[in-house]
Symmetry: C2
Subunit: 291 residues, 2 copies
Amino acid sequence: MKNVSIDTITQAFLDYCGDDTDPRTMFVLQKMVEHMHAFAKETELTHAEWARGLKFLTDAGKITDDERNEFVLISDVTGMSSLVDMIGSQHGGTSSSVLGPFHSVGAPLLPVGGDLKKDNDGTTVVIEGHVRDIDGNPVEGAVIELWQTAENGLYYSQDGGQDDFNLCCSMKTGPDGRYAMTTVKPAPYKVPDDGPVGELFRATGRTPWRPSHLHFIVQADGLKSLVTEVFANGDPYLDKDAVFGVRSDLIMDYVETSDLDALPDDLEVGRDVTLPYYKVDFDFTLVSEPN
Amino acid sequence: MKNVSIDTITQAFLDYCGDDTDPRTMFVLQKMVEHMHAFAKETELTHAEWARGLKFLTDAGKITDDERNEFVLISDVTGMSSLVDMIGSQHGGTSSSVLGPFHSVGAPLLPVGGDLKKDNDGTTVVIEGHVRDIDGNPVEGAVIELWQTAENGLYYSQDGGQDDFNLCCSMKTGPDGRYAMTTVKPAPYKVPDDGPVGELFRATGRTPWRPSHLHFIVQADGLKSLVTEVFANGDPYLDKDAVFGVRSDLIMDYVETSDLDALPDDLEVGRDVTLPYYKVDFDFTLVSEPN
């Protein structure tokens, strides 16, 4: 196009692309560019503002390494990660929530009732529940992965003082679909705020804190995998989770009790439970894979 | 917000921001997030697609260094740089066009009629014209900067074989508002296509080529600075400039001639003009600074 103008540039972009471009790729790019251009026009974006935006991305690139990805964090704190999660979720099952950057493949397999707490400091949490399908039938052989912070608010991968895979495990349900384990209550923590995202937070008066949560992935043959988080009722950051992860069906009561009779019979390490401890019951409902 | 949903997440983002956020910042962020979220919803963007997008940005960060900024290139090839240019341009003067990444501050000052060609290979171009205000009055003391590629399609900053500031100069107009210089015809060139932008080009059947062009910045007291480019009529890439820079008033005829009498009298190096040479006449019109 020899005379690109404000009114023709979006069409020019589309016209530049070849006819044999993958149709889905073309559709996604079309919508992306339509929204980028509409954003610039509606804001009458200035050179200086756009240069600031490009510096934000350039700075994000500089602070990104194998351990930390600022682009994922930007996605998280703008709600994009959470939105894409929700768009991809089937209705009827347990809500999904953000995966986050701290999942590690290969956590050790614990038996049902196993001990994840080991010698970690903090109040004991006994969490148990069932994995069921949408009709309420128990799911045998479902694989649950759990990962969480220690009491200091750090995941093992962020903290040289923790063993590899500390407070991370996988667990396979038996015929009754049940899982159970001992752990500690995770702490609220801040998302990294020493980079561009931190500047954004400070410019907009936002808090970088996430409410306390346990991460879960639940997978079973023939059912849609679930990536989610379970939050603690009463947490001060439930209403302003920096990454928009909270759903009402993912908020659990951490019931404080000293009743040792309430402990599951198969709990491996009942003897190490601190008193009082927290009892959490949480069931997962998985929907069928879409055909 | 305890129960963020597809329908409430955009408002949740706005609610998270403090009341004392700078109003313009808040407006730009609001529009940015509204368009990002609408993009995800309209495309029903999948996890895998969004992960691909974040990898694209992560890869852009990896290939970006002090010499090369892939984010600026993404802005260029999506039309954002050009669109922001056009939004910021005043009507009535010479069209603006993209600055690009190859402008260097501090190019040597040539007298009017000076020689920029020196010992560069290529067909001689004699370019001259006037800087005028919107009423047609000559602008005295306007400072013109020109930069361009050599015949190999590379700017000096990309090419160890060229001297510093090769084919870059500044020039100050006299009372008649005139500029004139000898140079060579710049070559079409490809934008860098060995990174994420190259992948985008290949996925969409786009060409990375830019038509041949001379870059200009024209500045004068009391008038709005102009950043623009001048293209060669007949160039094979005029209709598909990878960065959307072409405007019809920026396409010039490179008139081939062997008529030495057509050379400006003040041309320093008329003796070195190859025959035939190209004569280009291009006038700049600057608009007043907005009050």
